[in-house]
């Protein structure tokens, strides 16, 4: 199973590093990352494998959302199925 992590906000140093280490800590394996910066606005989308999570999904999302608040970014963690079902026939 995979989840999509999105991070949106003002660009600062070390966002990718902080989010990646939080993922590693919870056992989420990063498969793909795409990011862009437009006029200081940072958008990163990360696809992670969640089969090897050390705790449950809810714990991963709360810790990443808390990290987001700490660094002033909006973080969403969502199961990939929601995007697959909404955007694919």
């Amino acid at each position: 199973m995979k989840a999509v992590i999105t991070v949106i906000g003002r660009d600062t140093v070390g966002i990718l590093a902080k989010v990646s280490s939080a993922c590693a800590e919870k056992g989420a394996n990063i498969i793909d990352v795409t990011q862009s910066v437009m006029r200081d606005m940072f958008t990163m989308i990360m696809l992670v494998d969640i089969d090897g999570l050390t705790s449950d999904f809810s714990d991963l999302s709360s810790s990443l959302e808390a990290l987001g608040e700490e660094i002033g970014m909006k973080v969403h963690v969502m199961h990939e199925d929601i995007f697959n079902s909404m955007h694919r026939i």
């Binding site: 999509v4 999105t6 989308i45 696809l47 909006k74 969502m78 199961h79 995007f83």
Partner: protein, 452 residues
């Protein structure tokens, strides 16, 4: 990897356009709880509801966390209680109190099914249940009530219409100290669907399985935002845009329903494709109509715009879901829709225009606040008119009006929460309908051919 644009679109819909799952509603059959002893029946009802829906709220919360999609309400609908009252006799309010206790224990938002189906006539328990509705709704917090007074195949039971006018007024009076809130939890139906997940009209029809899970989606804000991206497009394009948006919204409902039914081990029933507004800014059906080009909801053209919207929502949603049911269409509850509230306040939206709108949208005269001195006969006559529209057009219609006791046109009534607030609207009732209503009897079922 999934398309970046699609991911950001979904997140934008949830964060900025109020996309949500409005409700997951578990339908529970109480037929196995019928007993000649009301007290014993009530115990069985409590046990069955609390046992069957034990994991409902937790499952809903887990889905919210996993998919990042808010699920606003977790609800329960049960078999029309008049059927239990038929077996036990006695005062049916014991069942209302039991339902309320079970809802509180489970932490659900509402429990519906304090209901009777009397479209052709009254059987044992029906009259008692209707007579007890005002007390039941004034003594409970979570219970919702509905009564089906007619159908296209059986006509309109005008004796029941007369009783329901009285029930609406008395319910408002008994809850006058709480903004007449009881009347907001009472729906009078024509052609009531048996699998509707939306309150206040949800009940678990006798043709349904023992347990079932139904999902109601929402998303007027998303549709409005999609229409706003095409300010100069013609209406064919607008209909397509709405269809595509409705498809996406419904797919989400289908996903949530499937996952929830797996988690709970309860069969998945239907997705109700409704655009259900909330009083929040940006979550209004009226604003979609205004985005289409009407200055204010209620001006000439409103009925046509609503017909387009309602049809496009269904066309888009049907393909996205394996089973569609319930009410499925655009809701137009005045006090729950910021745009409708504004239009009613400035007088552009009238009760008569709303009545016309109900001929082309999913439900009926919904959450309309009327003067507190409105007579029961006038409420009955409003119910009869609305029922006639549903009967002739083979569609569901309903009336949920709230007589604002002690208030008149120009005043406002505030319910709070999803029920919202709104102005008292003027009725055309200077002259009386009483003699027509008092005749009683049945309006025969209409001809289904020679349609003109």
């Amino acid at each position: 990897m999934i398309n970046t644009k699609d991911i950001l679109e979904t997140i934008n819909m949830i964060d900025n356009e109020n996309l949500d799952i409005r409700t997951i509603t578990m339908g529970i059959s109480l037929l196995s709880c019928a007993d000649s002893d009301a007290k014993r029946a009530a115990e069985k009802v409590y046990d069955k509801i609390t046992r069957s829906a034990e994991g409902l709220v937790a499952a809903g919360e887990r889905i919210e966390r996993t998919y990042g999609i808010p699920i606003i309400n977790k609800r329960i609908s049960v078999t029309p209680v008049s059927m239990l009252a038929a077996a036990s006799g006695g005062d049916p309010t014991v069942y209302a109190r039991t339902m309320d206790r079970a809802a509180k224990e489970l932490g659900v938002n509402f429990i519906g099914g304090y209901s009777a189906l009397v479209h052709k006539g009254f059987s044992a328990g029906d009259r008692e249940l209707i007579a007890s509705i005002p007390e039941a709704l004034s003594e409970t917090e979570f219970v919702c009530s509905s009564v089906n007074i007619g159908s296209t195949k059986s006509g309109i039971n005008m004796d029941a219409v007369a009783l329901m006018g009285e029930a609406v007024v008395r319910t408002a009076r008994l809850t006058a100290d709480r903004s007449c809130i009881g009347a907001a939890k009472l729906v009078v139906f024509m052609n009531a669907p048996e699998d509707n997940p939306f309150m206040a009209g949800a009940f678990h029809g006798p043709g349904e399985p023992d347990l079932v899970l139904n999902v109601g989606v929402s998303g007027p804000g998303v549709v409005r935002a999609a229409v706003a991206k095409h300010p100069d497009a013609d209406l064919s394009v607008i209909a397509d845009v709405i269809k595509k948006t409705a498809f996406k919204i419904t797919r989400m409902g289908q996903l949530v329903g499937t996952v929830a039914s797996d988690m709970l081990g309860v069969p998945f029933g239907i997705v109700d494709l409704s655009l259900a507004p909330t009083p929040a800014v940006g979550d209004s059906v009226a604003h979609i109509l205004e985005e289409m080009g009407l200055e204010t909801c209620g001006v000439p053209g409103t009925t046509a715009a609503l017909a387009l919207l309602n049809d496009a929502v269904k066309k888009g949603g049907v393909m996205a879901s394996s089973h569609v049911g319930g009410l499925s269409g655009a809701f137009i509850p005045v006090s729950e829709d910021a745009g409708m509230i504004d239009a009613a306040r400035d007088g552009t939206l009238t009760v008569e225009k709303l009545e016309a709108m109900t001929a082309v949208c999913s439900v009926g005269l919904d959450m309309i606040i009327i003067p507190g001195d409105t007579t029961a006969e006038t409420v009955s006559a409003i119910i009869a008119d609305e029922a006639a529209i549903g009967m002739v057009n083979s569609k569901t219609t309903a009336v949920r009006v709230i007589p604002a006791i002690g208030k008149n046109v120009g005043d406002e009534l505030e319910f709070g929460g999803l029920l919202g607030s709104g102005p008292v609207m003027k009725l055309n009732d200077a002259k009386s309908s009483a003699r027509f209503v008092r005749r009683g009897g049945r309006i025969p079922a209409p001809l289904q051919s020679l349609k003109n």
